[in-house]
Symmetry: D2
Subunit: 347 residues, 4 copies
């Protein structure tokens, strides 16, 4: 059994980790920390876990995290980078669900997250936890920075186009029109996330710039091995879970004869958590609700030069906690699907 610790378990990615790990057959939940909730049984805060999780929150200094095999950070940005070194020194693997180990450029990190990066050395070592792109590196990693929710969908959605030897689309003018459920904003008392504000409503936000833009560009460039230009427009959907990314790319004249459906199917062949749907499909976010699956459909409206790629994922699973467990499975040599075989909940 893998001894797992969780730092910061009171947010949505924390409770989702608990939902998944509580039923994971190879995991023993060893500790979950929260300074504020020290002593409170986890199931008192989240009654959905009654009968499944008997642990109580403990203050960080009481939790014997260094005795764990792996520790997940489901914390605000900045916490993991302060604590990772000590855990790594004790031989504990670290998986950060926040942004501390995503951006390789510390100047970019400081610009977008408003704090200096406290351990550039670890940042260099950290592996970006997107298994469908980075599986071999993850196998060897000690420290994993998990992708953001939007970046997961954008990178996997564009990957087959960019991963070819020569450009198929205008890589300097990609567009991602993304829509996310409200849980993406976290379990924080913000007025804009109130049901009375966000329900029966739709809006774009962060059009000027969003933290997930530099992360995604970095990832897309790593996939392409070339410079990539992206416009990213996030929107808020009145639903709890789910991201739907509508991606646009202009086909280059020399690539007009490409069979893009086949390209996508081949690219993701054998992947257990990426489902390239039949041509003409319109994936729905609920078709992956509460599961680690990501579904993609490839469209070329009117047979023209614009590709439209539709991508859906559950932002809390494939976009966060599930992807973390997928990485953990890889790290510890388990079948990647262990504990992640949930049938999506529909309706």
């Amino acid at each position: 059994m893998i001894k797992v610790g969780i730092v910061g378990g009171t947010g949505y990615t924390g409770v989702e980790l608990l939902r998944i790990l509580a039923a994971h057959p190879e995991v023993e939940l060893a500790a979950i920390t929260s300074r504020k909730e020290d002593g409170l049984p986890v199931a008192d805060m989240f009654p959905s876990l009654r009968g499944h999780v008997s642990l109580a929150f403990s203050a960080p200094e009481k939790a014997k995290l260094t005795e764990c095999d792996v520790v997940f950070f489901a914390t605000p940005h900045g916490v993991a980078m302060a604590q990772a070194a000590e855990l790594l020194a004790a031989g504990v693997k670290v998986i950060d669900l926040a942004a501390d180990f995503r951006l390789k450029d510390t100047a970019e990190f400081e610009k977008w997250y408003g704090m200096p990066h406290s351990c550039p050395d670890l940042l260099r070592e950290a592996v970006y936890g997107l298994p469908e792109v980075n599986r071999e590196a993850i196998k060897q990693a000690r420290l994993i920075g998990l992708p953001g929710c939007y970046p997961t969908s954008m990178q996997l959605g564009f990957a087959p186009l960019l991963a070819q030897g020569k450009p198929l689309v205008n890589e300097s003018a990609l567009i991602a029109d993304c829509k996310s459920g409200v849980s993406g904003a976290g379990r924080k008392g913000e007025i804009s996330s109130l049901l009375a504000e966000a329900s029966d409503n739709f809006k774009a936000y962060g059009v000027k710039g969003h933290r997930h833009l530099p992360e995604t560009v970095q990832g897309l460039q790593a996939i392409a091995g070339r410079k990539v230009g992206l416009t990213f427009v996030p929107h808020l959907v009145p639903m709890i879970r789910g991201i739907h990314s509508t991606l646009y790319a202009t086909i280059l004249p020399e690539a007009r004869d490409t069979d893009f459906q086949a390209l996508y199917e081949n690219h993701f062949k054998g992947e257990r958590f990426v489902d390239v749907m039949p041509a003409g499909s319109h994936p729905e976010t609920r078709s992956v609700r509460a599961s680690n699956m990501l579904r993609i459909a490839v469209h070329r409206p009117g047979g023209g030069d614009l590709l439209v790629i539709l991508v859906v994922e559950d932002n809390l699973v494939k976009g966060a906690a599930g992807q973390g467990v997928q990485c953990m499975n890889i790290l510890f040599g388990l079948d990647e699907k262990t504990g992640l075989a949930h049938v999506p909940v529909l309706p």
Copy 2:
């Protein structure tokens, strides 16, 4: 034109007052205060008001509230009682949407609101602003304490039963099973009101005790002229606006032959904002959405001894701002419906 001031216009009852008053033909919006938002145009916070409200928020000390004809308090409990005396002394009428002038018993007030009452004298003078019960007193009032949202629906729903010379139902064992949309919790950053918490969910709350219980009992007893016992169970509905109260009362043996449908229709004859629906109806909250109407249906399932009364209202209109404007119309001798003729928004 009536010069109107609003103290505390950044919450839901505040913006609803603005929506109604901006289109009221006899009103001039003179001032709206918010210490925190001093100088901010109201329409910058609520873009729905662009083109309708040109005022900016002003700090309380800058707003010339004593020059108004009437001032509404759309503030947290405790604010109106601190400022009412000065306004009244200047000849300004005061309408409080919070609880400062609802409970006649100061001990009860302190128990439920956790603060001492600072002006018991004014409390004695204050008129409870439920026009269908209290119209004549409102006409003469200087200071009005508006009913809470739940209490409005419970009192109007039970009133015809209790207002008779002798009891028709077991008045010591009334039950009110009430359901409210989330806007009732206010425009505050509370986790329990997040879309990701309250949507696709249903729960009761405050079963042990809720502030609206003593207020409603006081009101029901005033209507009946007798002691009344009430159990009140509020629930949270994943919708923005609306209250649906399901009221239960056991018919006394001697009242079994009463025509309750006729009783209700007669009781509310001539009322412009109470609609007794045909027998067998199931009123929906959306049938009063964004309007000052309250609809009632009377049921006696299986012809038995239990009356089931269904009541719907928009908690922000008849349950708050609309009722406030209705009182203002009465205070200033206008037709009660002035500025309140909104057709409900459906769908």
Copy 3:
């Protein structure tokens, strides 16, 4: 492996059965019928099942249902009673999710379902599939009529009160104020179930009479061994899944000293799918979302004579498909929890 057939798999209870059975370790999905969708892969209709269910729908006459060990009917009322005899004769166990085998009185059946009952003999044999009440009978059954969604919550909620030797509450005047998500209305193109009608709205319905009333009274009387009177008022909640029943019962003078919390805890001791929460709790429907759990909280507001019992369940799981699988587990001697250990999905 238990060979399972499903008749009528295109509705919500059908797809929920598939979600649960696809991951059940002791089940082999052998056939699923739909005349209209003959030949269509199930996962084409419900993409959530891609990768989990490879079966296609088949016309009833092609499906070899008599070779199954058990057949579930997730059909409209009237279908199971037409086909059960043939299956039972072939040694197949039958579990009906519709109402054909719920009401023991055929006259009542005809009154509420508008059709004559075609096999009163089987009706006499049929066992009511509520394990927490009827477990021993289920073990021996060939034919099970599963309870309706509302009746499950009402019966389990009232059971501890009624199952005592002498009455504790006024059993002639029970009240159930129930609230259900919209999936309870089925996957049918009815205007009243449209998002544009049912969302941001709340209403009661069927106050005059609802099919689940006679079923529940029959069940409560079987538990009590005495006559029971019930008023049942169902309401529609703008959410997908979940039932919240708020139950009211008046404590008899001689039972005022009863410790009702203890009574409930003792009654359900050892039950795996009934969770009596700590005193003072307010269970939320989302705390059981997509799981077979039912949670109960016992309240006595103000220490008075009125008991308020709060009950939540997922109407598609404990209220339908999950309870069916629970019965199947009992029928085949499996641990009752096999395939039913889902951690509820929150948020």
Copy 4:
């Protein structure tokens, strides 16, 4: 008073027309037809209209539509073109909310709507009812084909870019990523519009082709006087009302110095129902809920070559019934805002 008739008043555009016209100071509602609901008081179907509309539905042959001044068709496609000629002959103005008089090319009409066009002559005469583009023609019209809901937002969103003497953006590669509430699908019992299907979910649809594409291209080309290429991807949002269109256009090198904010503000100067918001704004659909306003924000992320235009409208008001009333006001020489001054309902 203008005598108004409505053909087909049982759908969402019909009830929205009623909501607006019932409060219109210059209108007398003379007749509303529905063969199926002949004799039923309108307010029995839509209780929100109780006290506001006393008319009953009447069968078409009984309604004296030829005595009206104007008749609105809120019917399925194909109805208006069968009845318009008779009304026009009687001197009645006709406003069609369906698609019969939108597409000027009858072959296109037949392709997208699956029926031949029965009166090409009238089609030639019909004026496209988009006042901000076509006001002068509307003044003289007898017959108006109102724009679709999506096309209104796309045309007004792109209009300032295309209405210039020379191209500012790549007009052959416009993109419209549009999101609509579910009321856009109409008041029809379709499974995909059920709350249990569409709620807590997000999806694209019709990516291969949608009826609003040829209409929008026709309109954009009329504005530009040049050929225009558009990719249109509609999505379904789990909300009742509202459309949010996110429009993308690539700035031509020679137009890089254009002040696009100023261009939009100038273009719509004086328009009462188009609000160009301050630079950097993110309009929300709720900011126009239940009103005839359309709001636009202009973005140029990172100062690059891609313009992002955000447009919101209420699909039932500016996208249908409200625009119809706006056209009626123009037709009859009234102030355009008469009866359309609703303050949007927020929250």
